[in-house]
Amino acid sequence: MEFNEAGPAASRRALLRGSALAGGGVAAALALAACGSGSSSAAAASGTGNFPATPKFKFVFVNHVTTNPFFQATQYGIQDACALVNCSYQWVGSETSDVSQMVTAMNTAITSGADGIAVALVDQTAFNAPTTAALAKNIPVVSYNADVTTNARLTYVGQDLYAAGQQMGQKIASLFPSGGDIAIFIATPGSLNIQPRADGAAAALKASGKNFTVKQVTTGADVNPEQSAIDAFTQGNKSFKGLFAVDAGSTQGIANVMRKYNLKSQGYHGGGFDLLVPTEQAISDGILDFTIDQSAYLQGFLPVLYLYLYKLSGTLVSPPFTDTGLKFVTKDLVAAYLKTQNRFEGSAAKQLYLH
């Protein structure tokens, strides 16, 4: 699984498509949908775009951290796709990575006759039985954001959390060619949306062969004490010159702390995940090295299209495995992100044409 680090000249549209659209079927579907509401040639009353009328499908997205700002962009993606193909959606699950809550939500979706389910498979076994049950009732199931290969889902849309962590680990290794003390800040250890990132990073650092001491530091889930925790750690452990995080809040905390003490000039490197504005600002100001964009928008947008086409075509159009890509947002790329708040990053609800 490779990632494409898009060149500086890449247009926004190309960035969005990324390396994901290997399947020509999907590209065609997008083109058709983008045609707008032209008159349909078929005799039947018009559905959306060129498509015939269908019942208004309802797709249920089961998520593990329903109020996490990362997934706000995902929800915008879902909304926009649903508007395109005239479907509705429901956003359910757990606020706190509670798997049994998620399983219950999924079962409710099955019994209430959802037309399609997208679920973040954050547990190795818990979702396997519900997935099989859904498929038995002809309800298509796809996974997004997190995957389990033993699950019977039709396909996976996303960038694996563990793999993303590994990428970050490799990036860190390149920033510290002779090894060093690295702190990995994690808000809530064990949380299924971020622990795999940390594990991947630690594993990659170990596999690099260089002399790294990796320390996992808990920061807590509340963004202000999180920053104070990072602050306190850096002040008390001056040998740790690598400050990296696996969640949005901790990444922002690192950015602010590095800014406060001007750590970049003291040989520190810092980076993390997700697209909070202070993080992006710090990258732009040369204070933070990078953040990682995991295309949250696409993780909502594409599953809706896949499920719709699967239903429309009576299972003929099979959803392809889709790597939504991972992008290291460094100083040369961050300007576009900062330009204005937008749906693609989750930071604003307004529909915008960015150019």
Binding site: Q75, K215, Q216, V223, N224, F233, N256
Partner: protein
């Protein structure tokens, strides 16, 4: 040992100190400070003291209001959610063109209204405040997510107003100390404070004496939620320079209540100390900061924090018993 007349002079001073219910929590804080100070040379550095101040402030400000509520026999579980909501109310109002100064005032008024709501529902509908504010908690959380579009936004940093509302270096802890002092004076030196204590210790008796216990309680609810909203504005502006819909929350509320209790305020009502709550918050902050600076491993940290809080509580209550000399029979 009980109810001795206070003798002026040095003996009296030490006896007065010993009678201070806050003494036990202050003693534990001093012990912790010494322990961590010895273990890590950076502990007493100015930047680390700043971190301790930051850890303390939000809980201390909320506790200053929560003590009043606890004293009159009630509780507000929704303060953590008010903490998150009010900054977004302020920003929304400002987005609509209202100057920031008035936006702050309006946001604090909204916080007060939340308190009035909590008070009216629990007093007039005779619902235990635990239940009422539990409901408000969820309601406010949902409203916050909606108002914020579930995404954090940067906190304003420019101008004199924001400077005193958090941008200035020690502003948050200064506000915390000011508000704690204000509420302690009100509790111990004014009629309002006496009536609050009376309402909590013996609601029926207080109302028989002619005190409007319902209004005493509603006022306390208003203070708690207004302080919570104010803390939200200060904390986001000061530390992370951003307002997050998931900031504060239940963890912060529990921390504030724990600070009250550790500081010597009884959960059943009738007595309390705001200064004690400040030291309770400081105790929790020193624990959190101390462990961070030691670099205690992630998974062990949470366990140790829990044990440490228990030990601190036990020490505190034992010292308190010693001070009171529990009456037999």
């Amino acid at each position: 040992m009980l109810s001795k007349q206070r003798i002026p002079g040095l003996a009296g001073v030490s006896r007065t100190l010993l009678r201070m219910r806050e003494l036990s929590v202050i003693a534990v804080v001093v012990v912790l400070l010494l322990y961590f100070g010895v273990s890590n040379s950076a502990f007493f550095s100015s930047s680390n003291l700043g971190n301790i101040a930051n850890f303390t402030s939000a809980a201390a400000i909320i506790a200053a209001g929560e003590v009043f509520l606890l004293v009159c026999g009630e509780i507000d579980l929704s303060t953590g959610m008010t903490f998150a909501l009010i900054p977004f109310v302020m920003m929304s109002v400002n987005d609509h063109g209202v100057p920031m100064f008035f936006a702050v005032i309006i946001a604090l008024l909204v916080a007060a209204v939340i308190g009035v709501f909590n008070g009216l529902v629990s007093q007039l509908l005779k619902l235990p405040s635990f239940i009422t504010t539990l409901g408000t908690l969820y309601l406010l959380h949902g409203i916050t997510l909606k108002v914020s579009n579930n995404f954090p936004r940067p906190a304003p940093q420019d101008g004199f107003l924001m400077k005193i509302l958090g941008v200035g270096e020690w502003t948050e802890i200064i506000w915390a100390v000011l508000l704690v002092t204000l509420m302690q004076v009100i509790l111990t030196q004014t009629r309002w404070g006496v009536h609050t204590i009376a309402t909590g210790a013996n609601t029926l008796g207080a109302s028989e004496a002619g005190i409007s216990t319902q209004w005493v309680k509603i006022r306390a609810f208003m203070i708690a939620s207004t302080f919570a909203g104010f803390a939200g504005i200060l904390d986001g502006t000061h530390i992370s320079h951003s307002f997050d819909p998931n900031a504060g929350g239940n963890d912060l509320m529990f921390e504030a209540v724990a600070a009250c209790v550790i500081g010597g305020t009884a959960l059943i009502g009738g007595s309390g100390t705001v200064v004690g709550a400040l030291f309770g918050a400081l105790l929790l902050a020193v624990l959190q900061d101390g462990f961070n600076i030691q670099g205690v491993s992630a998974t062990t940290f949470i366990m140790i924090e829990g044990i440490a809080i228990l030990i601190a509580m036990v020490l505190n209550t034992q010292l308190g018993r010693l001070r009171r000399g529990v009456k037999e029979g």
